[in-house]
């Protein structure tokens, strides 16, 4: 059972426009959500996170929105730049027996067109 879903495997956006990546989850015990960016043959790098007690977190061009009632979060990138082309993973955290576990979505490949 996929607890974290990214239903769009790919997204193509014009440079300078807004990129919106979506993520849905099913487990209401998740208390923290993260977005990672991954280039081919590299490990993911942390981008931005949000606690379940907030509905928005902003860091430069990146903003994450959380809608707890809908169990939905989104990552907005504005303006989009060619260097943003990568695979983006949404992750949700749960704490089990004192250990943090992240559950990842399948990823969305973002392509920024010049």
């Amino acid at each position: 059972d996929q607890q974290v879903k990214q239903n769009s495997p790919s997204l193509s956006v014009q440079e300078g426009r807004i990129s919106i990546l979506n993520c849905d989850y099913t487990n209401s015990m998740f208390d923290y959500f993260l977005w990672y960016k991954k280039y081919p043959a590299e490990g993911p790098t942390f981008l931005i996170s949000i606690s379940s007690i907030k509905d928005k977190n902003e860091d430069g061009r990146f903003t994450v929105f959380l809608n707890k009632s809908a169990k939905h979060l989104s990552l907005h990138i504005v303006p989009s730049q060619p260097g943003d082309s990568a695979v983006y993973f949404c992750a949700a955290r749960e704490i089990i027996q004192g250990a943090q576990k992240l559950v990842f979505g399948q990823g969305t490949r973002l392509t920024i067109n010049p």
Binding site: Y32, A41, E42, G43, P44, R93, A99, L102, F104, Q106
Partner: protein, 111 residues
């Protein structure tokens, strides 16, 4: 600052051969350590995690095992590789409940 190393970077192994992937973390003490696998076109699947030396939690039944012989060393092993073990293996660490930081990964191809 903290850094995480994985080796080898790439590996091609025949079916039935053993496997040993190593991960080490520098610049921190008593981290939580994780092994993930990304199969082709798939997301990241958590395989094992460890909150201390000698402590291993397994997420899914599989052909792999993990060990943590030292505080900052995490090893992923198999006695006999299967074709389905091919993938991109990632080690990650965290302190407490903060974000996880990933290593560069190992690309494993089983032929």
């Amino acid at each position: 600052s903290q850094t995480i190393h994985q080796w080898p970077a790439t590996l091609v192994q025949p079916v039935g051969s053993p496997l040993s992937l190593e991960c080490t973390v520098e610049g921190t003490s008593n981290p939580n350590l994780y092994w993930y696998r990304q199969a082709a076109g798939r997301g990241l699947q958590l395989l094992f995690y460890s909150v201390g030396i000698g402590q291993i939690s397994s997420e899914v039944p599989q052909n792999l095992s993990a060990s943590r012989p030292q505080d900052r060393q995490f090893i992923l092993s198999s006695k006999k590789l299967l074709l389905s073990d091919s993938g991109f293996y990632l080690c990650a660490w965290t302190m407490g409940y903060n974000e996880q930081f990933f290593g560069p990964g190992t690309r494993l191809t089983v032929l």
